[in-house]
């Protein structure tokens, strides 16, 4: 493809190979006009060559467009767009991945929307998001505020807080499953040592989701901190100085200046956390597998189980589209609502 782009217009090679019958250098005459008309209605000789060059130029331009776009367009088409459309198609069928598909129209959707199980998995997912977001935001903000001060070993601390972010979810889930082991886990040993109650964590239906929330927040704290720290550092110091001159105290400055000016970063954190939060899966699968007794099953876990455990791929696809719709609606609402509370400096 790069070769096609490489041959410049008007080069002898392309002129010869493409326009063999028209190489006579005679001035425009009746015969040549008829000849060119026979070839497809081209005008006189001089315009022909100009048009010829614009045509090869156009081809060349198209060649460059294809050269730059196809490497991404082809995989995105085959591995994203086609599955996207076929997922819609599958969601309108009853299908166990093996026997032929059976058309059911929108029945998968109506069944799911009326199903108690759907409401439960969405509720669990919502509990996860609602529990997780305040912890990572408050924790991340505190760490960011602390690291925005003059501190010795600041970059070491920042790197330490960020370490769990690069660790994979599966590792984090396993490490915390062990830390939160009800009998000989570290957390319960510490709680016992302090004379506090020791929850059953992932073995107890009431504590399974909190266990997942705790470990997820621990992993993402550093991510939120880095985003908020970057936001804090982009606030100009003279705004703070001016407020100080006007006699405001640190507390007022935090609420009136820092938080409002940090709102674009906060917005980013909230949007990303909600999008990722509604898609929570890895840590739940590893820590609780949705249990005990389905008490921590989340939407994506349900999609996985429907497909690969119960052979109900049609319903699974429908559920994935319902989830997508929910995420999309929430994100659109946030983007619309941001005008009211996000201040771009």
């Amino acid at each position: 493809m790069s070769r096609r782009g490489g041959t410049a217009a008007g080069q002898p090679l392309s002129a010869v190979t493409e326009q063999v019958p028209d190489t006579s250098a005679t001035p425009p005459s009746l015969s040549s006009v008829t000849a060119s008309r026979r070839r497809g209605g081209d005008g006189g000789h001089a315009p022909t060559s100009r048009r010829r060059s614009t045509r090869t130029q156009k081809l060349k331009k198209l060649g460059w467009v294809l050269f730059f776009l196809l490497p991404s367009a082809i995989p995105l088409f085959i591995f994203t767009l086609v599955p996207m459309v076929s997922s819609l198609w599958v969601s309108l069928h009853k299908w166990n991945l093996i026997s032929p598909m059976e058309w059911v129209g929108l029945k998968n959707y109506t069944n799911l929307l009326g199903d108690e199980m759907t409401r439960r998995v969405f509720l669990h997912t919502l509990i996860y998001v609602v529990g997780y977001l305040p912890i990572v935001y408050a924790g991340g903000l505190l760490l960011a505020l602390a690291l925005n001060q003059k501190l010795k070993g600041r970059s070491f601390l920042r790197a330490t807080y960020f370490l769990p972010v690069v660790t994979s979810w599966v590792v984090v889930a396993l490490v915390w499953k062990w830390l939160l082991n009800p009998t000989n886990g570290l957390v319960n040993q510490l709680l016992g040592g302090l004379g506090l109650p020791q929850p059953g964590w992932w073995t107890d239906p009431h504590w399974a989701l909190p266990a997942v929330i705790l470990s997820s927040a621990w992993k993402d704290l550093g991510f939120v901190m880095v985003i908020l720290l970057a936001g804090l550092q982009s606030i100009p110091t003279d705004v703070h100085e001016a407020a100080k001159v006007d006699g405001s105290n640190a507390w007022q400055r935090f609420w009136r200046i820092t938080l409002p000016l940090l709102s674009p970063s906060t917005f980013f954190v909230v949007v990303i956390s909600l999008i990722n939060g509604f898609q929570v899966f890895d840590q739940v699968y590893v820590m609780t597998a949705g249990g005990p007794a389905g008490s921590s099953q989340v939407v994506v876990g349900q999609i996985y189980d429907l497909t690969f455990r119960y052979g109900r791929a049609g319903e699974a696809s429908a559920l994935s589209w319902i989830l997508f719709a929910v995420i999309l609606i929430i994100t659109v609402f946030q983007i619309r609502g941001q005008r009211r509370w996000v201040h771009y400096a």
């Binding site: 490497p71 994203t80 330490t160 960020f162 994979s168 994506v300 996985y304 696809s317």
Partner: protein, 274 residues
């Protein structure tokens, strides 16, 4: 303002950040400790100072799965998918930012649409696609969904738009074509954005779990998250072995992180500022 802080306030600040650091680091330390504690002593939980440290758990791990190969799989897949995303992404970014062609906005809209669709929507048909093409349980299957990322295209396109067109024009006068402008002018100037995309591509591939779980069955094609999850299935209650597996999974990424820590954090911070 900051230097005028009182001593107690300063001490409280240091105490707080150190407690935070301990909370972040201790689980890692505990993982290592557990992995070298003899299995028999685990019933009451390990202690910080291990009595008879042993590498038995690591031996069991080596016997249970081809762990070296799994580590190499993880690293290899992550590196290849990062390189692919950088190449395909930067080329598309140049195409959208610098070339003029009909339906450009429509096509870019399609790219953005793929950005919004989460993996779980695609998992079932993608799995069927791989099955039909007889590609399940291969490296290609692991890589396929990550050859190009619309997120990368989007981020890099913004960066290319930020490169002044005067530079291109000057190069064109000097006789440079698109390929030369792309490689010698645009690419060097969008390095920060490339670094950001690289960080996200690498971490995304390294952490990826749902897709490998769906498409890979044989241990020799597993990546670390999938290998660990199967390990836990086999050794449910043998926490020393599970933690040995976790240590082995953490070490490679910890080394990458130590070497590139500054760039990784800068890359993540970079996405939030916009």
């Amino acid at each position: 303002m900051r230097d005028s802080r009182s001593l107690p306030a300063k001490l409280a600040l240091y105490a707080a950040v150190l407690v935070g650091a301990a909370i972040m680091l201790f689980p890692f330390l505990w993982t290592v400790i557990t992995s070298i504690t003899p299995e028999g002593s685990l019933a009451d939980g390990p202690t910080v100072f291990v009595d008879n440290p042993t590498l038995n758990a690591y031996r069991t791990l080596l016997d249970a799965m081809p762990i070296w190969r799994i580590i190499l799989n993880s690293l290899g897949v992550a590196v290849v998918s990062t390189v692919l995303q950088l190449v395909t992404g930067s080329m598309a970014a140049y195409g959208f930012a610098r070339l003029h062609f009909p339906l450009k906005n429509v096509i870019f809209g399609f790219y953005l649409a793929t950005l919004m669709v989460p993996l779980q929507v695609l998992v079932v048909p993608l799995f069927i696609e791989m099955k039909t093409l007889n590609l399940q349980d291969t490296y290609f299957a692991l890589l396929a969904p990550t050859i190009a990322s619309a997120f990368g295209v989007f981020l890099l396109r913004q960066a290319v738009i930020g490169v002044p067109t005067e530079l291109d024009e000057a190069a064109t006068i000097d006789g440079a074509g698109h390929l030369r402008i792309f490689t010698t002018i645009v690419l060097p100037l969008i390095r920060p954005a490339l670094a950001t995309v690289a960080v996200f591509a690498f971490m995304g591939s390294w952490n990826s779990f749902l897709w490998p779980l769906v498409v890979i069955r044989s241990p020799e094609f597993m990546t670390l998250p999938l290998g660990l999850s199967t390990l836990q299935g086999q050794f449910t209650t043998q926490w020393d072995v599970v933690m040995a597996g976790s240590v082995v999974s953490i070490v490679p990424i910890a080394i990458v992180y130590l070497l590139a820590q500054r760039h990784i954090i800068a890359g993540v911070a970079h996405t939030g500022i916009k």
